[in-house]
């Protein structure tokens, strides 16, 4: 096994024992990137060749010089007997929606293709301060608007390491692909409707969406400001806990980063699930979506998804958890319609700042006046998905429609929140510590299968988006391999700021399923 395939907790241990150096870890990761990643995404990609279709393409920018300087600094500190930090020598990637000083920060959009960030996002700064090695900026759906990465202005876009003919999911597609393919141990992603958990499920890795406000959004290019959550992506639960430990907590630069003390996530990790109440909800074993005529169709999630969730429940029950069946979450199905309104209003508001004046793309076409400059710069700079969100956001928040759409969606959001309040209430009927659900209704889909149909694409987030409306934390962990050879993700959801509990339950399941045969299967790009 190569160093780049080792867990982050193992790398830090070996490093502190001076058995390996940070420089060696970095060399291993860069070699893996060279082997599996192919060419980075570009706004001038030319033709996508058959060879391109076999590699991962997680990166937009590899920051090897930065990582080399960080690795040398860690090795020097160790040689001098200094503490190199809690994430010393751990290689990580950053979704290219976070500002990192001196790096191109593109949001996978032409409008920011030339933008070099003048400051560093808080979660990245905290990881770097703890000795982590930043390998580069990874690809995503343009401005995070998608669930497949196909909308990136930087092509070739990321491909699924388990089967490069399938999407990695999104929007944190480059993040999960880089972790699944062993290019990095950790990645910093964001989750607005499921953008950490859905791609984590598609690529067989662990993805944690913390409570809204648990991790600072300072330096994150905003999408839905009341929904966006930065969070860790890792290959195992312990690594995700290590990363959250570093990035969580209040921040003077973000007034929505709550002043809630950060628990010791690692200390509780191995304490098991005895006595915990874990719920299963029939409302998470089905999806509801509009067919071509706009009529709503209800469909059960595939049998193997329900089986994976029930298998996990059995394992947890064997370890002493109490499984509560038939927990009602009746407003789950309204998550997507409400999201279509709320996220678009917030996105449109956030996208008005891109005007070609202070930074980003400005048209080189001759223009008569400022208004024409705005229109041409934005027309050239934004892809179709941002344009769609701007137009929808403006429509549903217009004075004459606001009551009908925006205000109503915000009130439906209250109903979704109440579903969670009811089942997590310690004095209520259910008194759950967590809900256990499938993360997605399907495995990763092939390229082109959904892209273009913006409604169907959004419904890929149906089982993840309620947690964003409610603000509660959720984690997706690998739960099996489907008949099509692709990973199945299972999700745990808990009450506000209960990340320690979530990680502990997820770790218990991970440990209990360690010996299962599907755990031995490796992504296709690592079998060559």
């Amino acid at each position: 096994m190569e160093l780049c395939d080792l867990p982050a907790y193992e790398l830090t241990r070996l490093l502190r024992q001076r058995k390996i150096s940070a420089t060696e870890i970095l060399a291993s990761c860069l070699a893996r990137i060279e082997t599996v990643d192919g060419r980075p995404g570009s706004t001038e990609p030319g033709e996508i060749s058959d060879e391109d279709k076999q590699t991962v393409h997680a990166f937009i920018t590899v920051t090897d010089d930065r990582a080399r300087a960080q690795a040398m600094s860690v090795d020097q500190k160790l040689a001098d007997g200094e503490d190199p930090g809690r994430l010393a020598g751990v290689p990580f990637t950053v979704k290219d929606i976070f500002c990192v000083q001196g790096t191109r920060t593109t949001a996978a959009s032409r409008i920011l293709a030339n933008f070099v960030a003048p400051y560093t996002a808080t979660p990245v700064a905290r990881m770097e301060a703890e000795g982590a090695l930043m390998l580069g900026k990874v690809n995503l759906d343009e401005f995070t608007y998608g669930s497949s990465n196909e909308s990136s202005a930087f092509q070739p876009c990321p491909r699924n390491p388990w089967n490069p003919q399938c999407v990695p999911g999104g929007s944190s597609g480059g993040s999960v692909a880089s972790v699944a393919a062993g290019e990095a141990a950790l990645s910093l992603g964001t989750d607005t409707a499921g953008s950490i958990r859905q791609p984590a499920a598609f690529c067989g890795v662990v993805g944690l969406k913390p409570t809204y406000g648990r991790v600072s959004r300072y330096g994150l290019i905003a999408f839905g400001s009341s929904l966006d959550c930065p969070g860790p992506i890792a290959r195992n639960v312990t690594d995700a806990a290590m990363m959250l430990q570093v990035i969580a907590g209040p921040d003077a630069h973000d007034s929505t980063a709550a002043s809630v003390p950060v628990e010791d996530y690692l200390a509780q990790l191995e304490t098991g699930v005895r006595g915990l109440r874990i719920g299963l909800s029939p409302d998470y074993f089905k999806v509801t979506y509009p067919d071509e005529l706009g009529e709503y169709v209800q469909q059960a999630v595939p049998q193997e998804f329900e089986a994976a969730v029930r298998r996990a429940a059995d394992l947890l029950a064997q370890m002493g958890a109490e499984i509560i069946e038939d927990v009602p979450m009746p407003n789950t199905r309204y998550g997507i319609p409400a999201y279509f309104v709320i996220s678009r209003v917030e996105a449109a508001s956030n996208l008005h700042r891109y005007d070609g004046v202070k930074y980003g793309h400005r048209t080189v076409e001759p223009v008569r006046d400022l208004n024409e400059m705005y229109r041409k710069s934005r027309a050239e700079g934004f892809g179709l998905q941002p344009k769609l969100r701007i137009l929808m956001g403006m429509y549903v928040s217009a004075a004459q429609y606001s009551e009908q759409y925006y205000q109503r969606a915000l009130r439906v959001r209250t109903l979704i929140r109440r579903d969670f309040d009811r089942v997590f209430d310690p004095n209520g009927k259910y008194r759950l510590h967590a809900l256990l659900t499938p993360t997605t209704p399907t495995t990763a889909f092939p390229f082109g299968a959904v892209y273009g149909d913006s409604v169907l694409m959004q419904y890929a987030d149906q089982l993840t988006v309620p947690a964003n409306h409610a603000g509660v934390p959720g984690i997706s962990v690998p739960g099996g391999i489907a008949a099509d050879g692709l990973p199945i993700g299972i999700q745990f959801l808990a009450a506000d700021y209960q990340e320690a509990l979530l990680l502990r339950i997820a770790r218990s399941y991970e440990k209990a399923s360690e010996g299962e045969s599907w755990r031995q299967v490796k992504p296709m790009v690592l079998q060559r």
């Binding site: 007034s255 400022l370 229109r375």
Partner: protein, 106 residues
């Protein structure tokens, strides 16, 4: 099913959004907007009691967990030149833009 957004409303939105579209883009975006509005229509059928308030943030911000506001003090950025270096056009410390259109009010 009737369309929610007709072409003239759409064109007005495009103008307000300071965008320009090719015919092909306009056709796609108008179709997708109307498809999304079909999905959004499901909200209208949800029974909502009068007293259900709006939620802007899922997690309630109580005084205990809301960070104190910092003082209204000027905090200079260390490297203003890094910010200014991003501007498409600068001259003598000014951002340069094309002519700003003027409208004479009646």
């Amino acid at each position: 099913m009737s369309e929610f957004i007709d072409r003239s409303t759409f064109d007005h939105l495009v103008q307000l959004a300071a965008l320009e579209l090719t015919d092909e883009q306009a056709e796609y975006l108008l179709r997708e907007l109307n498809n999304q509005l079909k999905a959004i229509r499901e909200l209208e059928a949800i029974p909502l009691d009068e007293d259900v308030p709006a939620t802007w943030h899922g997690v309630p911000y109580t005084p205990q967990i809301s960070p104190a506001l910092r003082g209204d003090d000027w905090q200079p950025f260390e490297r203003p030149q890094d910010i200014l270096a991003q501007a498409p056009q600068m001259e003598n410390g000014y951002l340069i833009v094309p002519d700003i259109p003027h409208t004479t009010l009646e």
